[in-house]
Structure formats: C-alpha cells, structure tokens
Amino acid sequence: MSRRNPAGQLRIDPALFAVLLFAPALAFAHVDQGEIGGGFLSGMAHPVLGLDHVVAMVAVGLWGAQLGSPAIWVLPVTFPLVMAFGGLLGLLGVPIPAVEIGIALSAIVLGAMVALAARPPLWVAGLLVGLFAIFHGHAHGAELPEAANAIAYSVGFVIATGLLHAVGILIGVANRWRRGAQGLRVGGGAIAASGVYFLVAHLA
C-alpha cells in the first residue's frame, strides 16, 4: 500500500513495488498461451459480451435483491445449475424452439418484474427464472466453439455468470433506500425495454 511518511510525501511500499514490477511479465507469459488460458478467457467472455445475456443475468440479481431472503440466495444457487442443464441440452444438440425469442422475452419479463417490484411466491419466481435459464444455457451450449478446452471454458463460463448475478445483487443493495428502490425499478424498466429491442431486432 502507498502511504504518507511524516514529511507528507507519498511513499510506495518496496514489497508492493517489487510485486508490481513482476506483474506485467507474469500476465504476458500466460495470456493467449495454450488452449487452457484461451478456453478460460473465451468462457469468461461469452456471457459478458452478449448484451442480451448480461441484462437478463443482472435482472436476476436485481430481482433477488428486491425479493430479499430467501429468494436472494435461492436464485443465484439454482440459476447456474439450471443454466448448465440448458447448456447440456445445447451441447447434445437437443433442439429448443425459438431460443433467441426466449432470451429476449427473459429480459422483458425479468425486467418487468423488477420494474413492478413484483412479489410472487418463491416457487413461481424460481420456476420463471429457471425456465429462462434453460434458454440462456441452451444458446451458450449450442454456440460453443469446438476447439475450446472444455473444462477451462466451463470454469470461466460459470464464474462469469455468477459474477454477473453478484453485480445485480450488489446494485440491488440500493433497494434499502427509498430513492434507491425507485432507481432499481427504473433500471428494471430499462432492461425490459432493451428486451423489446432484442425481440424486434431478432424478428425484423
């Protein structure tokens, strides 16, 4: 850590400086080298680069935060599992009709739930989220590159998805304040609107 010495000058900890010196070299030594690193990075990137996936994942986290306990943890625990199940179906080539429409609908419905601050029974929320999770997972599974290292890809993919939920839940902390709760509902409306855009873009 950097801190100020008595004279008031900013002083850099020598140990930290030494670590930082090594950091770029370490980074370059690994990125893009071998299929494990490549598989992990493409697994991490896949959920993050598709905006239609991102808004739906964040909506799950936001909605969980609005619903509070126990939904706030039931949703992030079940979602990766159900999504991986959808991914399994996609990898096996099991056809699911209108996957892209389902994904666009997921943003619309989940965004609307956040915008309305809807409070259905837990099992209804779980079922709704689970249903959409299958669509998302299937799309990822079916689009998977043949060459990627399977395990590294899966690790990156699940971590990225989980972190997107965490982002939603962290934003959802704002729900405690009145203005924050209003802001969340506006955000949900924006997610639903983006879902409408994805739907129109797909159908057009």
């Binding site: 625990v77 991986a84 599974g141 971590i159």
Partner: protein
C-alpha cells in the same frame, strides 16, 4: 483447533511417515520426485480437483461429525491407485469422476443433511474411481510406492483445508457465509454438468 482440524493433522502425520519410509529406500533426491508427482497430479487437473474441493466443502458443512472422512477418502484414493496397477484399465472412469463433482457440488448446494454413513460410502466409491484414474499417470518410470502416498496426501490436504475453511466460516454464524458455500457448490456442479455435456458431445461426434 477444531475437532476436524485435529483429525486432519493426525492423518497428515500418518501419511508423511508412510512416504518418508519409502523415500529412504531409494536414492533420496530422485526418488522424492515421484512423491511430489503423486501430490501434484490431482491438484493440476480440474477434473480431480473440483470433486476434491466439493467433498471438502461438504465435510466442512458437517464439521467434526464426519471426521473419519479424512482417513476414508485418502485411503480409498490410495487403494484405488494401487488396484489400478493390478487390473486392466477401466473405461468410463473420467465420466464417473466428473459425475462425482456434479454429485458432491449438488449436495453442497442443497446443504443436504446426508447421514454420515452415506457420505462415507460415497467418499469410498469415488475415492476408488479417482485413484483408479491415476493409472495413466503411473507409467513405467514412476515408483508407485512414492506416487501413491503423494496422491493420498493431496486428497487429504484439499479435504482438510476445504473443510477447515468452511467450518471456520460457518462458525462465524453469518448467514452469508453458509450461502456463499452453497453457491460455490452450485458453481462446481454447474461446471461439472457442462464438462459432462462436452464429453457427451465428443462421444456423439466421434
């Protein structure tokens, strides 16, 4: 130190004694390499590491009620690896080992109050399959008497560390910690499910 931790250090001491006895029987510097080979092999392969971690989380959720896991699982690992030297290679071990990550991860996510006996039975079975899968790593140049204790120590360390960390976190009585452990289990199960899907696709394609 908690009950789980004490059992862990006893088991580690036993394994270390086993290994050093063998090391002295050979030229010290070269022979030790195979011990480290056995120790590193499961730690560098996610297919082995994930189920080990998940079992450690599971053990930590139960705390000192499942102390014997610390002897049973490394024991089964070593027995499996020894057995692999005697019998021809079995097909489908890799899939079984990924499935163990799915099962253990799902049990962690569900925080299922599994009876200790059932947990021991699962740990024995999958310890054997993971041990058997190490057959490919023990080639003609590897001394099994060093490799296998190393393997057992790797299983023990992951189990003991994972269990200790989880037991410590849960003992803080913060609800978030229990949830974080369950989310970790769910992630492990999800990863295993995807890897199974990849394997199935490869099988279907080829």
């Amino acid at each position: 130190m908690t009950g789980f931790g004490r059992a862990a250090s006893c088991a580690a001491a036993v394994l270390t004694c086993l290994a050093t006895g063998d090391a002295h029987a050979h030229a010290a510097s070269q022979a030790l390499g195979d011990f480290y080979g056995g120790l590193l092999h499961p730690l560098t392969d996610v297919v082995h590491l994930l189920p080990f971690i998940a079992l450690g989380l599971l053990a930590g959720q139960r705390g000192s009620q499942v102390n014997s896991l610390l002897l049973i699982f490394p024991g089964a690992l070593m027995a499996g690896a020894a057995l692999a030297l005697l019998i021809p290679p079995l097909p489908g071990l890799e899939l079984l080992n990924i499935a163990s990550a799915l099962l253990f991860g799902a049990l962690v996510a569900a925080a299922a109050p599994l009876p200790a006996a059932a947990l021991y039975a699962l740990a024995t079975f999958f310890g054997l399959t993971h041990g058997l899968a190490n057959r490919t790593a023990i080639d003609a140049f590897v001394r099994p008497l060093l490799f296998i204790p190393g393997l057992g120590l790797a299983g023990l360390l992951v189990l003991a560390w994972g269990g200790q960390i989880v037991e410590y976190l849960i003992a803080r009585r913060t609800p978030w910690m229990q949830i974080a452990v369950r989310v970790a289990g769910s992630w492990i199960a999800a990863i295993a499910l995807l890897v199974l899907g990849f394997s199935a696709r490869t099988l279907l394609a080829g």
